[in-house]
Amino acid sequence: MLININHRQYEAQPGQTILDIARANGIEIPTLCHHPALSIAGACRMCVVECDNRLVASCTTPARDGMEILTDSKRVIGGRKTILDLILSDHPLDCMTCEANGDCKVQDLAYQYDLRESSFGSKRESRFSIRADNPFLEVDPDKCILCGRCVRVDHEIQCSYAIDFVHRGFDSIVGTPFEEGLDGDNSTCVFCGQCVEMCPTGALTYKPSKGKGRDYEFQKIVTTCPYCGVGCQLELHVKDNKVIKVGSVYQVGSPNPVGETCVKGRFGYGYVNHEDRLTTPLIKRNGQFEEVSWDEALDYVAQKLIQIKEIYGSKAIAGFSSAKCTNEENYVMQKFIRAVVGTNSVDHCARLCHASTVAGLARAFGSGAMTNSIGEVEESDVIFVIGSNPTENHPVIGSKIKRALKKGAKLIVADPREIELTGLADVAIYQQPGTDVALVNGLMHVIIQEGLYDQTFVEERTVNFELLESIVAGYNPEKVSAITRVPAKDIIRAARLFASANKGSIYYAMGITQHKTGTDNVLSLANLAMLTGNLGRESTGVNPLRGQNNVQGACDLGALPNVYPGYQAVNLPENKAKFEKAWGTQLSDDIGLTVVEILNAAGKDIKGLYIMGENPVLSDPDQNHVIAALESLDLLVVQDIFLTETAQYADVVLPAASFAEKNGTFTNTERRIQRVRKAIDAPGQSRYDWEIICDLAQRMDYAMSYDSAAEIMEEIAELTPIYGGIHFDRLEGTGLQWPCSSREHQGTKFLHQGQFTHGKGKFHTVSYIPPAEEPDSEYSYLLMTGRMLYHFHTGTMSRRSPAIDQYEPDAYVEINLADAKRLGIEDGERVRVTSRRGEVETYARVGERVQEGQLFMPFHYAESPANRLTNPVLDVIAKIPELKVSAVKLEKVNM
C-alpha cells in the first residue's frame, strides 16, 4: 500500500506504523516513550502527526492505504509544544548539573522547540527524593517523564520485573515494592543497567561515572566484553585515557542485540584503570621484586629458558596460555611453545572448565563446540538446562531463556541447587552432585521404553543405537531415583517433556563438565540430543555455555597440548609437516601435558613454566599443592595485568595490556569471532601479550614478528581451516561464526545440518560411576564450587571494580537452613570448611539454595579460596579435575 507523508508517496507494509514508515524513509518524528525493541506504550504523545486532519500518535497508528500524513504542520508543532510544555512544568530546570546533559531527549526537544521554561510555571521544589542506596544506579523521580521505557526493558528484555509504576496520579513514579529500593531485601534487580540505557532523561543514571564527564566529551569505542563467553558487545565511553562508563550497543545479530549486558559487563570496568596495574617488568632477587627494563627482563627469561632447554630438554618447559587473551595472542603463545621451545605442553584454563566438552562433543559429533547460536534459544519449545546457572553466569542468555518461557517454551532444570531458573521450571530436578550420567541414562530409558525417540533421525544420522539401548535398559526410573535422589515420577515427566519437543535444546556448563566423569556426562547429553533428533536444526542442539570471554578461541587456536590451531592433531604426520613448513622449524609429535599434569610434574619433569594471564593459585584444585608446585620450579614467568596470587610466586613478572588497550578478537561461546578494539593506551611500560612473546622469541633466535593483530589473523586464517575466512576487514559489525572456510563463506549459525562433522553421529555407552570423594563420617558434607553473578573467576578483575566489590565484598559458603540449625550457625557468621587438602574460613550464607548435606562456595575470593579444598582427581580422557564434588567438614568458628 501507499501512504502520503508531507505530500510525498511512500511504500508501506501491513503492520507498519506511521512512525515505522517515517523512520524508514528518514523523516524525523520526535519520540520519548518509543523504542523499536520494546512494546509500544503510546504514553508520551510526543510523536503526534496530523493524519487526515486529526492529531494522532504516530507510534501507535497503523498505516492505512492512502493516508495523508503531515509531520511538521503548524498543528503538529503546536501539539508537541503543548506536550513538552506540560512535561517541563513538572521537570526541574537542572541541566547545569544533570548527568544526562547532552544525552537527554527532553533537553534536546526543549532546545529544538525553543522552550526555556514552562508556561505553567517551573518546578522549583522537588516532589520526591533521590534514591541512590546502591553503588550502581541513581534514581531521581523528579526528572522522570513516566515514559515507561525502563519498566518495559526490565520486563520485556531483562525479565527481572524489579520495577514498575507505583502509586497513582500526580504521585505516580517508577519504583520498587514498598519503596525498598533496587537493593532492597525483596528486590529482583540485578543491576544490568539496561533501564538506565533506555531512560531518555536524567531520571536514571550511573553512579560510578557521576561527575566524570558529559556525553559529548566521551570517545566511544565498541568492543567485546572481557568477562564471560556470551561475548556481549559493549560501548566503552572514554575520557582522558580512562574508561568512564559502559554503554549499550544495539545491533541485530549480536549476542546482545538489544544492548543487554549483565552487571559485570556494565560495571566491571574499574580494574582497567586501577592503581594496582603492573607498569614495569619485575625480577625477583633475594625474595623481593625489583623493577627492571624490558631488555633486562626478556634477556633474563630468554637465557633461562635456553639454559633449561639445554640441560633438561624442551619437554622440561611448559606454557599456560589464556582464555582471557585474544585469539591472536593465544595463537602466538602456542606457536612460541611449539616452535621456539619445542614442546606441545601448552594448555590453559579450558582444562578446568570445558575440556570434557571439547573431548566429548568431538567424539560424538566431530566438533567440540556449542552446536547452535545464542539467540536461537528464544525459539526453542523445550529447554533443558542441566548443571548450568545461566541467570548468574551467562546472564544475558539467562534472560533469553526467560523470554522463551514468556513465549510459551517449557523448561526442565536439573541442578543440585535451587537456582533462579529452578523456580521457573515446568520440571525441576535436584540430582545429587555427580550423578548426571545416571540421570540422563534414566531419561533415555524412559524415552526408548515409551517409544518416544526420533526413529528417523537415529536411523539416518547415527550409529551405535543398539549399544545405547542395551546400556540404558539398566537405568529404569526406580534405580535412577535411588542413585540421584530424584523422584521417579519427575524423571518420567522430564523424559516425556523433552521427548515431546519439536525444537528441544540442551544447555549445560560446569555442573556437567567439572567431574571425574565429565566427558561421560557430555557424551550422555550428546546421546540424548541425538536420540530425540534435536540436532542440526535451529533452536535445538547441545549447547555448552563457555565460561571465559575467549575460552572458545583459546581452544580453537590450539592452546591445547594435543592439537594445533583448528583442532588439528599434533600426532598426525601431515599436520606436523604442514606446521613445520609454515613455522620453518622442527616440531614435536608427542602430545603435551595438561594444566594439572604440568603442575603435578613441576620440580620433577617440568622446570620452567610460562604463564600468560592465568591464576592457577586460585583457579586450580588443591591450592596447597599448586603453590608447592610453583615454588619448586627453576623458572616461573608470569605475564599479567596485575600482580596476581600466582604472580607472587614468579621469578619474572611481565606487565601486559588489558582488553581495553589492544586490538584483536575474542571468540564467544557460539563460535562467533568478534573484534576487540583499543580504546585507551596501556599504562606505564605494559605491552601487548603477543608483542612480548614475539620479542622473547627473537631473543631465542626465532624470527617472529607482526605489525598488528590483523596480521596475526592472516597467518591463522592460512593455517586453520575453520578460521579460513576470518580477516579483520570482515569482522566489522557482528563478526563471523566458525566454521568459516574462505573469504566468501558467511560463517555457520548452527552445526551439523544434514550431517555431522565426522559423518554420522556416534552414540557412546556410558555407565554411572560415583564421584571420587563422597561424604563420610568425618568429612560429612558435599562441597560444590562455582561462580556467582557479581564476580568472575579468580576475581582479579571484578574485585578491582569498585562498584561491584562494594556491593558484594565478601566470600561465603551456602549452607542449608537445617544443617545450620543443627550446627548452631547463624546467617553471616564465620565458619570453617575443611577438606582432606586444606581449610578455609568464610561467612555463612544460610538458606535453602543448597540441599541438606551440601555446601556451595564461589571460588572468586583470595581470602577464602574455595580451591584450597577441591579435589584434583582427573577425568581420564579430558584431564579435567572434579571441582564440583569434594567431601568437607563444616564448623562454626568461635570468635
Binding site: Y161, D164, F165, R168, G175, P177, F178
Partner: protein, 152 residues
C-alpha cells in the same frame, strides 16, 4: 502477619487460578479478609499467582480502594472539592486531626477511624461535607465534630 494465616488466602487464590485478569479480584477478596494488604500478604499473592511482586505493589498503590496499612473500623472521607473548600472545610480537617491525633490517610490509635480526603461528593449544597462510611454529614462546623465522632 499476626491476624491472618496464609492458608486462608489459598482458597481465594485457588478460586481465581488460571483466570486472566485475576490479580485485582484476588487482591480485593484478600483485602476483605485481612483488612488491608501488608507486604507479606502481597508477596504471598505474587508468589502464588506467579505475578511479579513489583506488579502487585504497582496495582495495590494504583487503586485507591486498596490499602497497605491497617484501616480503621470506620472511614471518614472529608470532601476537599471546590465548594467545600470555599466553605472552610480545612478547619474541619484540622479539627478531626486534632480530635483523633492522626494525619490525613492515617488511622487512629484505637483503630476506630481512618481519615481520607475525597473529591466532590456531589452534595455541594450542604458544604462543607464529609462521609463516615456510607453516611453523609453536611453543614459542618468544627464544633460539631466531637459529637459526630462520639456516635461511632
Amino acid at each position: 502477619m499476626e491476624n491472618c494465616n496464609f492458608q486462608e488466602l489459598d482458597s481465594i487464590i485457588e478460586k481465581y487460578r488460571d483466570k486472566s485478569g485475576n490479580l485485582i479480584p484476588v487482591l480485593h477478596e484478600v483485602q476483605n479478609k485481612v483488612g488491608y494488604l501488608p507486604m507479606d500478604v502481597q508477596k504471598y499473592v505474587a508468589a502464588k499467582l506467579k505475578v511479579p511482586f513489583s506488579k502487585v505493589y504497582g496495582v495495590v498503590t494504583f487503586y485507591s480502594f486498596f490499602s497497605t496499612t491497617p484501616k480503621g473500623k470506620h472511614t471518614i472521607g472529608v470532601c476537599l472539592g471546590t465548594a467545600c473548600y470555599v466553605k472552610g472545610v480545612e478547619g474541619i480537617v484540622e479539627k478531626i486531626k486534632e480530635e483523633l491525633e492522626i494525619e490525613t490517610g492515617g488511622t487512629s490509635n484505637d483503630g476506630r477511624f481512618t481519615m481520607t480526603i475525597t473529591r466532590c461528593l456531589g452534595a455541594c449544597s450542604m458544604a462543607p461535607v464529609m462521609m463516615i462510611d456510607e453516611k453523609v454529614y453536611g453543614q459542618l462546623t468544627p464544633e460539631k465534630i466531637p459529637d459526630i465522632l462520639d456516635k461511632y
